[in-house]
């Protein structure tokens, strides 16, 4: 009897979040699920990958027909999550076999199947899922080999291409810029205005290790609330100017109809800071910061358009790298002995009727 390598899954492309969250495996339950699937008749090995963007089950079985394994896994999901027939019917699973499975896993690990092309978090998530399965004893020769190959391919794709280069969101561009101006661990941040976008930028900076944060807003209560959330300090709106020389990054997003930060103020600040570099991020529309501020020695001003343009450039650059990445994956599939299979998209199948 021949061994079949299969994958059954759904992701952000095929299934809306309200459905995905219903059939997501909690981290603490992944090992249990893997053991249950492996206990299905004919199944030898399994790995369960469940993230916010995808739920995928990789398995090897020795059933006579390769596709029979998909049917059994779907039945398992329906039973485990107590789904009605109509709900199961509406689920859009992709059902992959052998080389398609390997190709898909290689793409997932390399970040090519991610919502944000080239993102790196998925590599760690797949590693963690594999480790859980390995520790539970649900993997064997076939899946161990496949996952080790996938990690090698993922590393190669990241090392030999620029798929992960640059940032594709305004928040992460702000972090990249801050990192190239200062050592983030020593970086003090000031938020002027407490809009959603400035909050996202500040949170990105803090999550990457920024030292401290000061929040100032016209509504002081809102500033206090946001400062408490980010373990920072709140300042009254008429006090931020006096504290500017203490910070290395200013993020401004007030709703003022005129410039709030002017060159004269920044010149004074820079004298006090002994010309230490200052990053000013203006995400307000209309703009808060006079563009002439960028002419001042040691000051680097980025408005929302500049940040968006950088993010767009990075996205385009990643898309250009895609062909190179796919080339590496195909080369590795051949090297590892996977025969050419159908393209991934053509294998997306709907519900049990495709079994």
């Amino acid at each position: 009897m021949s061994q079949h390598l299969i994958c059954l899954g759904l992701n952000y492309r095929t299934t809306p979040v309200e459905v995905r969250e219903r059939i997501a495996f909690a981290e603490s339950k992944a090992a249990e699920a893997a053991l249950e699937i492996r206990a299905l008749p004919g199944f030898d090995e399994t790995v369960v990958l469940s993230t916010c963007n995808r739920v995928e089950i990789y398995a090897s079985h020795n059933l006579e027909e390769g596709r029979a394994g998909h049917s059994k896994m779907r039945d398992y999901i329906a039973t485990r999550f107590a789904l009605a027939d109509s709900e199961v019917e509406s689920l859009v699973f992709y059902q992959l076999s052998d080389a398609e499975t390997a190709r898909h896993l290689f793409r997932v690990v390399s970040g090519l199947d991610s919502m944000v092309l080239g993102e790196t978090e998925i590599f760690g998530q797949v590693k963690q899922s594999y480790k859980v399965a390995l520790d539970s004893g649900t993997t064997g020769r076939t899946l161990n080999k496949l996952f080790q190959q996938a990690f090698a391919v993922g590393k190669r794709v990241r090392n030999e291409t620029a798929i992960q280069r640059g940032s594709t969101s305004v928040g992460s561009v702000a972090v990249d810029l801050a990192e190239k101006v200062h050592d983030l661990k020593e970086c003090r941040v000031m938020l002027i205005g407490a809009g959603d976008m400035s909050r996202t930028c500040a949170q990105s900076l803090l999550s990457r290790g920024a030292k401290s944060i000061i929040v100032s807003n016209r509504s002081h209560d809102r500033a206090v609330e946001l400062a408490a959330e980010m373990k920072g300090k709140a300042l009254k709106f008429d006090e931020w100017e006096g504290a500017m020389h203490e910070v290395d990054v200013i993020i401004s997003s007030t709703s003022a109809p005129h410039f709030v930060i002017k060159p004269e103020q920044i010149r004074q600040v820079q004298k006090k800071r002994r010309w230490e570099p200052l990053l000013v991020i203006d995400i307000a529309v209309p703009r808060d910061v006079d563009p002439a501020v960028n002419q001042i020695e040691g000051v680097y001003l980025y408005d929302i358009d500049a940040l968006q343009a950088i993010a767009d450039d990075s996205r385009r650059e990643r898309e250009r790298q895609l062909i190179h990445c796919e080339g590496i994956i195909e080369q590795q599939l051949n090297k590892y002995g996977f025969a050419e299979g159908d393209a991934f998209q053509s294998s997306i199948q709907r519900g049990p009727s495709q079994a």
Binding site: T161, K180, H182, D183, G298, I310, Q321
Partner: protein, 260 residues
């Protein structure tokens, strides 16, 4: 061709190889920080060390008397400092900027008319004289590295100001680290040159006047630069320019000193 010349040419090729590799990787946007990037620099350094050893054997003393020998000694010192500083300040791309300078100095050394002449035989070797010269040349290497770091600062500064956020931007270190490196390397050079000049006071053998004057002129220049940096009189950008332009003086003085 003497064996030591072959070694020097091979060392130069290693530096150029490193430069080519880095340039290609940056152009293809596949550069990643890795210790392997330092390998061509390490090979070049070993070959230059072997050159200095053989050349020292050939002339019977530290090879620091002709312009070509001085250029090679400085390039060796620059790479030595690169290995010491590159890791400490996480400025691995410094190698990309160091390689062309070092390769250029070595090519110049090889092709200078009358390169690597025989030295007139001299009597007893005086260790303090040799040490004085070696320390002074290592100080010049620190100034060279400060100049290279200054170029990196100016480049990163321009990319940040003009919003040109691309391949090279991501590989260059934070601008604040570069500014610190410029200051520290200039200071290191100044301390070493001060030590070399202090040694000259203890020498019984008189040092020629032009040599002393040039050395003191260079010391004075960097002392003023050090003071300006310490007092934050100038912005980091102006300081970086000073480090770049300032290096021209010690570099040109090498010719004058060796002719004196």
């Amino acid at each position: 061709m003497e064996q030591y010349r072959t070694l020097l040419i091979l060392a130069t090729l290693a530096y150029l190889g490193g430069l080519f590799h880095a340039g290609t990787a940056l152009t293809k946007r596949t550069w990643h920080d890795s210790r392997w990037h330092a390998l061509p620099m390490l090979i070049g350094f070993c070959l230059t060390t072997a050159f200095l050893y053989l050349r020292g054997q050939a002339v019977g003393q530290c090879p620091m008397k002709s312009v070509s020998d001085i250029l090679v000694f400085i390039s060796w010192s620059v790479i030595l400092l690169y290995f010491l500083v590159g890791g400490a300040y996480r400025v691995s791309l410094l190698g990309l900027f160091t390689a062309p300078l070092v390769a250029g100095m070595q090519i110049l050394a090889v092709f200078l008319p009358g390169a690597f002449p025989d030295y007139p035989l001299k009597g007893k070797i005086i260790p303090l004289v040799e040490l004085h010269a070696a320390v002074a040349l290592i100080a010049y290497a620190a100034f060279a590295l400060s100049c290279i770091t200054g170029i990196m600062y100016l480049l990163q500064e321009r990319l940040l100001k003009k919003h040109r956020i691309g391949g090279l931007f991501y590989q260059l270190p934070p601008i604040q680290d570069l500014a610190k490196s410029v200051r520290r390397l200039s200071l290191l050079g100044l301390i070493l040159l001060s030590a070399a000049l202090a040694m000259s006071f203890a020498l019984k053998q008189p040092v020629s006047n032009p040599k002393v004057i040039f050395a003191w002129a260079v010391w004075l220049l960097y002392a003023v630069m050090g003071f300006v940096m310490w007092r934050h009189v100038l912005s980091p950008r102006q300081t970086a320019w000073l480090a770049v332009i300032g290096f021209v003086v010690p570099f040109v003085s090498l010719w004058l000193v060796t002719k004196a």
